[in-house]
């Protein structure tokens, strides 16, 4: 999913969970949006292998935004005493796994590869429907909480 949709989803989570503490909100965006920073880490590999062309199927995800990351996010959430990182990361994962790029959910413990779920629906349609739903949800939540 694009960063725009992740921001919309995280904003909806922030509103739905009534998060007011700036630290909690920062954690929400860190684990809901900023985990995508691993694409920056993988960017040099992409440039070396593909160049400046658009080749979207290239594997440029990392363990940072795969289910295996729950192994470190769970203890971190216990230390911080909040479920915000877990919830926002789970939402991020659910969205990413609805896009049919290949993913390695348990690497380095397993080399299992999956394309995720909802494979029968075109990615662009999924993204458009979800983004529209999230805009509506955000407006509704704002209206309720104002």
């Amino acid at each position: 999913m694009t960063i725009f949709t992740h921001i919309l989803a995280t904003t909806a989570v922030v509103q739905a969970m009534h998060l007011r503490d700036p630290k909690q909100i920062a954690l929400a965006y860190l684990f809901g949006v900023a985990v995508d920073i691993d694409h920056v880490v993988k960017a040099p590999f992409y440039l070396r292998a593909i160049g400046l062309r658009d080749k979207r199927g290239y594997y440029w995800r990392s363990s940072l935004q795969e289910p295996v990351a729950f192994l470190w996010i769970l203890p971190l959430s216990l230390l911080l005493g909040t479920v915000v990182p877990l919830v926002c990361f789970a939402v991020h994962l659910l969205m990413d796994y609805s896009v049919c790029y290949e993913k390695m959910p348990f690497y380095p413990y397993s080399r299992y590869v999956t394309r995720g779920w909802l494979l029968g629906i075109p990615d662009r349609r999924k993204e458009a429907v979800l983004a529209s739903a999230l805009v509506a949800a955000n407006l509704a939540l704002w209206w309720v909480h104002r």
């Binding site: 880490v41 199927g57 594997y59 990392s62 203890p75 230390l79 390695m104 690497y107 590869v113 075109p122």
Partner: protein, 236 residues
């Protein structure tokens, strides 16, 4: 640094192995015994004596590997035993601090979890900051709860960086294999095929038990044709 210490301590290594007949595994068990004694002592409230036991245990812990290297006794089993006993020692000592009321159980538990997580990958990531028992000596100046938070944070950060490092190494190897860059699955399979080819051709792993295989050029997999993509991908 490690080699320098070993050179200085060589007479001690010779005394332990040649005069006393101790094997590296036996030294590992002695180190664990000292750590268990440290845990009991700390748990019963005698912190100073406990830290002395812990220090003796750490010295023996360093000597087992040194004896193994000095006398050519390194083995996968020895490395595994050393790792298991190290983690068990840390677990016991950390829990002793919680039993003695020097740190909350929650922090101690999280520190143990972080150390164990790092252990699962550190042989592959080659990244271990070593901030485990050693940090506890600072307890005379820094409150123990803060030290356990530091142990947790450092080990968890090393785990996250290690995961990224392993991931990048796989990416480099997959990219070297070439083939269809559109599917991860085909490239992982190609990589596994190359590994299998290396193994069947009698290639040897490096001395480290978890070291990755070096894939020679001639075993690289030829580019594979593009797989048929599901219809949902057509509009990506």
């Amino acid at each position: 640094m490690k080699r320098t210490v070993e050179r200085i301590g060589r007479p001690l290594l010779h005394f332990l192995h040649l005069r006393l007949g101790l094997t590296p595994n036996q030294v590992s068990w002695i180190a664990f015994g000292c750590s268990a004694a440290a845990a009991v002592t700390i748990g019963s409230g005698r912190l100073g004596l406990g830290l002395i036991f812990m220090a003796v245990g750490q010295i023996f812990d360093g000597l087992d590997g040194a004896i193994a290297r000095e006398f050519g006794l390194t083995s996968v089993e020895g490395h595994r035993l050393d790792t298991i006993l190290d983690r068990a020692s840390e677990g016991l000592i950390f829990l002793a601090f919680a039993v003695a009321g020097l740190a909350p159980f929650r922090l101690v538990f999280l520190a143990i979890v972080a150390v164990l997580l790092l252990t699962t990958i550190c042989d592959r990531s080659k990244l271990d900051p070593g901030a485990k028992r050693f940090a506890l000596y600072a307890g005379y100046w820094v409150p123990f709860p803060i030290l356990f938070e530091v142990i947790f944070s450092v080990n968890l950060a090393a785990y996250i960086i290690g995961l990224l490092r392993i991931d990048c190494e796989l990416q480099v190897r997959m990219d070297r294999l070439g083939g269809d860059l559109d599917t991860v699955a085909s490239r992982v399979l190609a990589h596994e095929a190359a590994e299998a080819a290396v193994l069947s051709s009698g290639a040897v792993r490096s001395s480290h038990p978890h070291a990755e295989l070096r894939v020679p050029d001639e075993t690289r997999v030829a580019p594979t044709p593009m797989k048929a993509m599901p219809s949902s991908q057509a509009d990506r």
